[in-house]
Symmetry: C2
């Protein structure tokens, strides 16, 4: 779903409390209402918004009571800096995706390409709460727990790496702005230069890359050319970085 709509939904303390509660266990309206100290009517209203956004779903149990569950996996990332206000929301990538092939990133995780499959004898036993699990099930559980623990560490490391990238980008943009945008009015110039470094050559390519009108891109390119930051090859109308 759209990041903006997601932020509208999450920008409410009671809806966040409902999601937190449902992430622990499926709940009925009265449970949620008791836990939050909020009227059932208000809870129903929040649940309706969460359902419309596709974040929760309801089921009806044997006693015909309706209970609610989080239905969706998703991740929202928001970056704020003097140069950026970026939002991104996305579904989880498939667990089968080959993440080892990234250009700048290697994940050193032993579980990367092997997926633990449930033991064949698992199905029958798990319904009975006091029945003991088999040895193969026990070792499957231990392996899954180890993988979960490793994934949690990896998640923290990725988050740290992303905060490092964020800090580094801001620092690079500070330096670039100082060089090509003295008064802070032309932050778009840093993006134009990054697009050139990425291989964009014509005004059309650059404006597509940074999602800005060609007219504006062209005028900044011309000013930067006057200062010797970029050069124009008049023959094929291509731009390059001078340095």
């Amino acid at each position: 779903m759209d990041s903006a709509a997601l932020l509208d939904i999450l920008g409410n303390e009671n809806r966040r409390r409902i999601l937190r509660l449902l992430s622990h266990k499926p709940c009925y309206v009265t449970e949620i209402s008791d836990y939050l100290g909020v009227s059932p009517k208000a809870v129903i209203d929040h649940l309706r918004k969460l359902e419309e956004a596709g974040l929760v779903e309801s089921r009806t149990d044997d006693q015909r009571r309706k209970y609610f569950n989080i239905s969706r996996n998703l991740r929202l990332e928001v970056d704020v800096s003097p140069y950026e206000f970026g939002m991104k929301s996305a579904y989880p990538a498939s667990p089968n995706l080959d993440v080892s092939s990234c250009q700048y990133l290697s994940l050193n995780v032993q579980y990367l390409n092997e997926r633990v499959e449930p033991a064949d004898d698992a199905e029958d036993d798990i319904e009975h709460d006091v029945e003991r699990i088999s040895d193969s099930e026990a070792s499957e559980v231990a392996e899954l727990a180890a993988e979960l623990n490793c994934l949690e560490d990896l998640k923290s490391e990725l988050s740290l790496a992303q905060r490092w990238v964020h800090g580094r980008m801001t620092s690079v943009l500070d330096s670039l702005s100082e060089a090509v945008d003295g008064d802070g009015e032309n932050r778009i110039r840093a993006e134009i230069l990054a697009a050139l470094a990425a291989g964009a050559e014509t005004t059309v390519e650059i404006s597509r890359e940074i999602k800005a009108p060609e007219r504006i891109v062209e005028s900044h390119l011309k000013s930067m050319a006057e200062r010797g930051v970029v050069e124009r090859d008049r023959e094929n109308d291509e731009w390059t970085l001078t340095g």
Copy 2:
């Protein structure tokens, strides 16, 4: 700042539009009001909230007009899944942080440990818009642009990796729940098992690790011991995974 307060601030379309505008250039109230088509009074109100949250700051220019700017770098991450509603907000990590030492993660970035320093002769020239920059400045700009482009790619790869981890965690939690929590009422058990896999041994350590009361952790450990998923060493009162 607190993730919840940040979501409250960002859960408003006009405040998001103000942040997007300010990320392009510093603005006066009337500019923002014209751009958004919202009364100056409403803009002032939003700006006050953004200022209180420390996200924007104001300065007064030579003509004594007050203009606004994004003052803070931060990153917000929200994960939603049937097992989790997690929010995290953090400042960027220092660009000087050594991210190459992570356990599960390697970043293959040539810029990792070298920081481009501005050329000495840069300061004097950059104030004059039509003055041409020196060769060393031009090559510094080209290097910075290349680094920015590389950081943008790295950011996308990290985001993809994080979505992969999210998907993988959900799939591991699905398998674990199936094995130890048939009715979906005891999602905490997967966390207890992950804490055991991470090396926690006593009830106290586990409850500290997963931030749950000891009493509850103890009762789940006992049920899981009855099923043979975990074992208790009675001598030193430590728990281990059976498998």
